[in-house]
């Protein structure tokens, strides 16, 4: 076939056409990429399918509701009801939010609104660097630095404020509070980074209007910046929550790994993610145990999906993509 017209189109003249091979590449490339993208979609579907299928032994024995809401995780008797894990997951994550979000948002506010320009870059990098520390290193540091150093203070707190709910009693070395604290540190960079972006979207006129009325800087932040950024910051916190729920290694090293519902913040506890990391090795030959751990993974997966979806919906409304 001559390099020229493939077929003489009406009009009696031709254009300089490409070779058939070159033209064939067009749909090939486009559909190749589409297939790849579809595979990525399929991957998520598969995740779900495989997890559910392998969790079957445990789910059918204890029932989904029984698995989640009954409290009896007893490896020696082969009973796997995960309520204590669920509570532990929730408690550690809530502590992480309570400790981490105010600090993260304060840092975001400071860096965007109050910080002298020269320090902005350095501060931002430093806060973001917290995200670069691997979770196993946080765990190591938690076990050998935080736990021993904080124990006396924790005991003092527990004794002094024992009238508060969830406080009082003896302080375990590794406990849910420490786990929550480390989680707070780990979610700080992401909550702060997104809050920063959200705060930056506040239109300058809003802020200038407040200042022009004679507001002090703090008042300007309070009446112009924070209300505007509120939903975005909530979204950022939920993304942090999602991360906290799923964090495994740092938690399993410092939470105590005791499958009991914690009654006070310095009790030992257990989380869905930690149990998987901790017990997988010994569970290998016990299909019920493995199934239970995978079921825990499934519950974890669904929880994080839900939290992240909600978070993203909120953040995408505030920060234009």
């Amino acid at each position: 076939m001559e390099a020229g017209s493939l077929r003489l189109p009406p009009g009696g003249r031709s254009l300089d056409e490409r070779s058939p091979a070159s033209r064939a590449a067009d749909p090939f490339f486009r559909w190749g990429l589409t297939v790849l993208a579809t595979l990525v979609l399929a991957l998520i579907a598969f995740f779900f399918i495989f997890l559910v299928s392998k969790a079957q032994p445990a789910l059918s024995k204890f029932g989904l509701l029984g698995f989640v809401f009954k409290d009896n995780w007893d490896v020696s008797r082969n009973i796997y009801e995960a309520w204590s894990l669920v509570v532990g997951t929730i408690v550690t994550s809530v502590i992480a939010l309570v400790l981490g979000v105010p600090v993260a948002v304060a840092a975001a506010l400071y860096v965007t609104e109050l910080c002298p320009a020269r320090a902005k870059g350095a501060l931002t990098i430093l806060i973001d660097l917290l995200a670069a520390v691997p979770s196993v290193v946080y765990g190591l540091w938690g076990v050998f630095v935080l736990i021993p150093h904080l124990k006396p203070a924790e005991q003092w707190f527990s004794d002094t404020f024992s009238f508060l709910p969830f406080v009082g009693g003896s302080v375990a070395g590794p406990n849910v509070f420490i786990a929550g604290l480390i989680l707070a540190i780990m979610i700080l960079p992401i909550v702060s980074a997104i809050s920063r972006e959200v705060i930056l979207t506040v239109p300058r006129d809003h802020k200038e209007a407040a200042l022009a009325l004679g507001a002090t800087r703090w008042e300007m932040l309070r009446i112009a910046v924070l209300p505007y950024s509120r939903s975005g910051i909530v979204g950022a916190s939920m993304l942090g929550l999602g991360r906290a729920i799923g964090e495994t290694i740092a938690v399993t090293l410092v939470v105590g790994n005791a499958p009991n519902v914690p009654h006070q913040i310095f009790d030992q506890g257990y989380t869905l993610a930690a149990v998987i990391a901790n017990e997988f090795g010994e569970a290998a030959n016990n299909p019920l145990h493995v199934g239970a751990l995978i079921a825990a993974g499934l519950v974890l997966f669904v929880l994080t999906l839900a939290v992240n979806a909600a978070a993203r919906a909120i953040v995408n409304r505030t920060v234009p993509a």
């Binding site: 486009r30 400071y110 670069a132 630095v145 004679g214 309070r222 993610a273 995978i294």
Partner: protein, 288 residues
């Protein structure tokens, strides 16, 4: 001449107090970083020596614990494999999203699911690979370094896709139009014009994804698993820095704990190095 009304003392005090609190909390945010680095250096430097990097862990509880050679090499091998899988696939999917999928329903669906993937806990990736590759007989039962690599690749994939998409979108449409108007087919525009323009940003994004993957423990726990010796066989168990640290932390023995600190220092140094290179690269190639 009228005097200006002064701001009330109370408002001024509140302003100062509030600003002080914000500054203090920002300082609080930095304390963990300082403390982690401090202790890493304080307790980890002592473990560092030439032998530390060139001997394998011996597994012996009472005698010489050995070094972390197999861990370092294992991390390099596994992360390299993960990169080889995740980066090309991720960049191609990002290319699809930007060049062919913009505004289309399918493209938005893919993007949504990629976003979903970024929130999946890393241990779930490990579980998935365990179910699909380690226990099923389809590729041979058992732990293997390459399976750990695949798990890490799954972790890296959404990060590479997301950051790749951002960077590709930054390439001005004017360039695409110029190339199209010259008579180039879409795929050539994507590969020969858009991709080269976006290359620096894509490299930065990939480096950051690699840094993240290098530090992950959970996905490797039951895919590449822990082993003492150095191995270049990706089809068998393979050690890695995070797993080595995790294993040592669990032992109540001083020398092992010290090795853990040394390994942690090494790992953090590696991750920080990658992160810094990525950021510097980004700075130098600021594309206007």
């Amino acid at each position: 001449m009228t005097a200006l009304t002064a701001v009330s003392g109370r408002r001024r005090r509140t302003d100062r107090a509030a600003r002080g609190v914000l500054l203090a909390l920002t300082g609080v945010a930095l304390i963990p970083l300082v403390l982690v680095v401090y202790y890493l250096l304080k307790r980890g430097l002592g473990a560092i020596s030439w032998d530390f990097f060139t001997t394998d862990p011996t597994g012996s509880f009472l005698g010489d614990p050995g070094g972390i050679k197999s861990a370092i090499l294992g991390t390099i091998e596994i992360v390299a494999l993960a990169t080889l899988i995740a980066v090309p696939v991720g960049v191609l999917v990002a290319l699809y999203l930007v060049e062919f999928g913009r505004g289309k329903r399918f493209g938005n669906l893919v993007r949504y699911f990629v976003d979903v993937m970024t929130g999946v806990p890393s241990i779930v990736f490990g579980l998935f690979i365990y179910i699909v590759l380690v226990t099923s007989s389809f590729v041979g039962v058992g732990f293997a370094g390459w399976k750990g690599g695949v798990a890490l690749a799954l972790l890296m994939l959404p990060v590479v896709i997301r950051s790749g998409e951002v960077v590709l979108l930054l390439v001005p449409d004017g360039l695409r139009e110029a190339a199209l108007a010259l008579g180039a087919p879409r795929w050539k525009v994507a590969l020969r014009v858009v991709l080269p323009s976006a290359l620096p940003g894509l490299i930065t994004g990939s480096l950051l994804a690699i840094a993240r993957a290098a530090g992950e423990t959970a996905p490797l726990l039951f895919t590449s698993a822990y082993v003492l010796g150095t191995s270049f066989n990706l089809d068998g168990r393979m050690n890695s820095l995070p797993l080595q640290i995790f294993s040592d932390v669990g032992q109540a023995q001083d020398r092992l704990v010290q090795r853990a600190w040394g390994a942690a220092l090494t790992l953090v140094a590696l991750v920080l190095l990658l992160t810094l290179i990525a950021r510097l690269f980004q700075r130098r190639n600021r594309y206007t």
